[in-house]
């Protein structure tokens, strides 16, 4: 009995020493070497692909953000600022409940199933809002024209992109709100539409932050 206890202890000790040795290799040396290479060769990307405009950081090209009006008194959810292109709904985003001295954004999805009543309602409301917001006096949007990404939340809640269809749908509204010709805004969207990588990887998309930065440049110039 004593023998087997001491054998077990000896074996556990060996396991622990093996773990510590491998922790040194894979948990200290490996990440440090990779960080060194990453910071040396790809400094901007390794630090979050930050985007600057007018001399200040306005976000990351990889992370979606909200383009809202400032909260009014008594308001709980902000309204979208319709002069800017809007991204996808972000119903899956959360805020942190642990280590609350920080105000962290919690990435995530809604995790609702296709037959979930609440999801059905969200999609209905989002669709109605997209149709209403993007219909101008001369240009009417039909519900059938609204693409799926405009009314669904992404997996991360931080999707930086929208489909080219959703960007096109917003052109008349953005042109109207900013007093720009529709053709000029259409051209802007075309310039910022990215096709599939090598023609077949991923899906065509428009980076909303890049598009809005270009729009603001256009507005300050004109």
């Amino acid at each position: 009995m004593n023998n087997s206890v001491s054998n077990t202890a000896r074996l556990l000790g060996a396991g622990l020493r093996a773990l510590l040795a491998l922790t040194l290799v894979t948990g200290v040396l490996y990440p440090l070497v990779v960080t060194g290479i990453a910071q040396g060769l790809f400094h901007d990307r390794a630090n979050g692909s930050e985007v600057k405009a007018d001399g200040r950081v306005v976000g990351s090209s990889l992370i979606g953000q909200a383009y809202n009006l400032p909260l009014k008194k008594g308001q709980e959810t902000p309204e979208p600022d319709l002069k800017w292109f809007q991204g996808r709904p972000q119903n899956g985003l959360g805020s942190n409940s642990v280590n609350t001295r920080y105000k962290l954004v919690l990435s995530g999805a809604t995790n609702r199933s296709g037959d979930d009543e609440e999801l059905i309602q969200w999609v209905k409301d989002a669709k109605a809002a997209v149709v209403e917001d993007n219909s101008t006096g001369t240009h009417k949007v039909k519900p059938s024209q609204v693409p799926a990404d405009a009314v669904t939340s992404s997996g991360s809640g931080l999707d930086p992109d929208i489909s080219p269809e959703y960007a096109d749908l917003q052109v008349h509204r953005v042109a109207g709100k900013n007093g720009l010709p529709v053709a000029r805004v259409e051209k802007l969207v075309d310039e910022h539409t990215e096709g599939r990588t090598l023609g077949f990887m991923g899906e065509p998309r428009v980076n909303v932050l890049a598009l809005n930065i270009a729009l603001r440049e256009l507005l300050t110039k004109s």
């Binding site: 630090n47 199933s113 296709g114 037959d115 799926a148 991360s156 990588t197």
Partner: protein, 554 residues
């Protein structure tokens, strides 16, 4: 080009890349596990362990090594999380509660990477990089070591010797996982995956006001997370998060990393038993199931049955624009047919049938191609069962690779295939019967049941993905899923190693005209059939209550 065609082309590109890589990588792994030479760094590690890497172990000694090393892993990771609050370099994050720390330790040591925590608000740099990421390496290396021990069971005769656990495990890290992960990490940084040690910092926004973000060693962890079929995300959104998976190319590359070792190990197996064609028969079985599941998944996700998806005009809920429906489907199948569980889109928001395909993928035992190591040994167990079934049909004593499959061998294989279904079904039934676990469901009805069935299927099969609507951070789920992960990982290993020992003790029997030719396509067909029938019979009632009911109602 339409999205369906683009999806098919991406799948073909993936198949081509895997076909190119599997021979050189498989041969390399066969050399690694057959070599007599030790690298200098490995000698230092053996000296630290106090183990002689030349000692041959029989199966009980090999098993003791696996269990001692894994127990040390659980203990270390548990303590690291419990002490996070006082450790430097932890962003000032507080310590993890005991039940969640146990769950997470069990999860990462068992190669599951089930996460009942949100990465960005709970785990600081030290726990992520020196705790969780280390287990991503070593738990994968343990799986590969056990698979190699089983393969040696088919090679050795009348000795019962299966190799040396310490040497197999250490080499798996130093010569296979570490070099590939290092290259992959640099590729991922080039795509935009972050790699820094900055603390929580503010980043400006377009309309003003800052957001708070954590930095971290993501690329180095992301690489081994996929390569070792681990799947634990740095952030809550896992590989749907743009910092973990920024572009369509990084996405395909990460799917490749998930699949490359499990598929290549069939080549290693063929080389080691002296007949690459035996390896191809296993590879064919894995590829058939994988491609079939992928085709079904793409079909149901593009057809998107379900009221919310019909209304939206596509199944884009929980999916990213840059990745689209097609590669979300390809990823979802790759991650549930391996023991990975990383996600680039959220499984709970797949169609009813799509969720069913994910569940069935895990319930097959993750053998097509399966986790690193665990896929190969799981598939070889199924091959033993298939050979036995064939033997019953023609009335001959079954044999596989020159070894008799006798009473002892078939008992061990049967025990292996009974463990995980027992864990999944008993725990699901218990959670449904008790009054409180059901409070954790987000969705009601059939999908709510699926959330719980998914959680235990994922835990006991060491997958780690989730129908994440389930609030799993309760004492009940942390404890029961933690136990399911440990039992679902290590009990099967006991039977695999016992089987290996039994095979290695036999005298090989010569091939005759009456031998079942296990390297032929006919055997691949038999094996696919045996897998689908056994799993189907086991899980059909449970699947009928969950995803099938949801899918048929849509």
């Amino acid at each position: 080009m339409g999205p369906v065609l683009a999806g098919v082309l991406q799948l073909l590109a993936l198949v081509a890349a895997l076909a190119l890589a599997h021979r050189p990588l498989g041969d390399h792994m066969a050399r690694v596990y057959s070599s007599d030479r030790h690298w200098r760094v490995e000698k230092w590690i053996y000296k630290g362990i106090g183990a002689d890497p030349g000692t041959q172990m029989r199966w009980p000694a090999y098993l003791r090594g696996v269990l001692a090393f894994s127990a040390a892993g659980v203990l270390f990771l548990y303590l690291l999380q419990r002490l996070q609050g006082v450790l430097p370099g932890s962003l000032g994050f507080s310590s993890i509660d005991p039940d969640q720390a146990f769950n997470t330790a069990a999860s990462f040591v068992s190669n599951t990477n089930w996460q009942s925590y949100y990465g960005e608000q709970a785990m600081g740099h030290v726990v992520q990089t020196a705790g969780l990421a280390v287990q991503n390496f070593v738990s994968a290396a343990v799986g590969m070591a056990v698979a190699v021990a089983l393969v040696r069971g088919f090679m050795r005769s009348r000795s019962g010797e299966l190799g040396n656990f310490w040497s197999d495990m250490v080499r798996g890290v130093t010569r296979i996982l570490l070099p590939v992960a290092a290259i992959a990490a640099v590729v991922l940084v080039a795509c935009g995956v972050i790699q820094n040690f900055s603390g929580i910092h503010e980043v400006g926004q377009f309309t003003g006001g800052p957001q708070q973000w954590n930095g971290g060693a993501l690329a180095s962890q992301e690489a081994i997370k996929e390569l070792g079929t681990n799947g634990g995300g740095y952030f809550n959104a896992n590989s749907a998060h743009p910092f973990e998976n920024p572009s369509p190319f990084s996405n395909l590359f990460e799917i490749f990393l998930i699949l490359v070792i499990p598929f290549s190990l069939t080549r290693t197996f063929g080389r080691m038993v002296g007949s690459p064609r035996q390896g191809y028969a296993i590879l064919g079985t894995m590829a058939t199931i994988w491609l079939g599941f992928t085709a079904l998944m793409m079909w149901t996700e593009f057809a998107h049955p379900g009221p919310a998806f019909d209304l939206a005009g596509g199944a884009m809920e929980g999916k990213e624009v840059r990745l689209g429906v097609s590669t979300s489907s390809i990823w979802a199948v790759a991650t549930t047919l391996t023991s990975t569980g990383a996600v680039n889109s959220f499984h709970s928001s797949f169609t009813g049938f799509g969720g069913g395909i994910q569940l069935l993928g895990m319930q097959l035992g993750e053998i097509a191609p399966g986790g690193v190591g665990s896929g190969l040994y799981g598939m070889l167990i199924m091959a033993v069962i298939a050979v036995f079934v064939a033997g019953l049909m023609v009335g001959r004593t079954p044999e596989y690779l020159g070894r008799k499959i006798g009473t002892r061998e078939i008992k061990l294989a049967a025990c292996y295939i009974l463990i995980t279904p027992a864990l999944v079904l008993v725990l699901t039934a218990a959670a449904m019967a008790l009054p409180t676990p059901g409070d954790s469901m987000t969705n009601s009805g059939a999908h709510g049941f699926s959330e719980i069935l998914y959680a235990y299927s994922s835990g006991a099969n060491n997958n780690g993905s989730a129908f994440a609507g389930l609030n799993a951070d309760t004492q009940w789920f942390n404890t029961t899923i933690g136990l399911a992960m440990l039992l679902g990982r290590f009990l099967p290993m006991v039977f695999v190693l016992a089987l290996a020992g039994s095979l290695a003790g036999q005298r090989p029997i010569p091939v005759t005209a009456g031998t079942l030719r296990t390297e032929k396509p006919l055997f691949t067909g038999l094996l696919v059939g045996a897998i689908l029938i056994i799993t189907g019979l086991t899980y059909f009632p449970a699947l009928a209550l969950g995803p099938l009911a949801e899918g048929l109602a849509a």
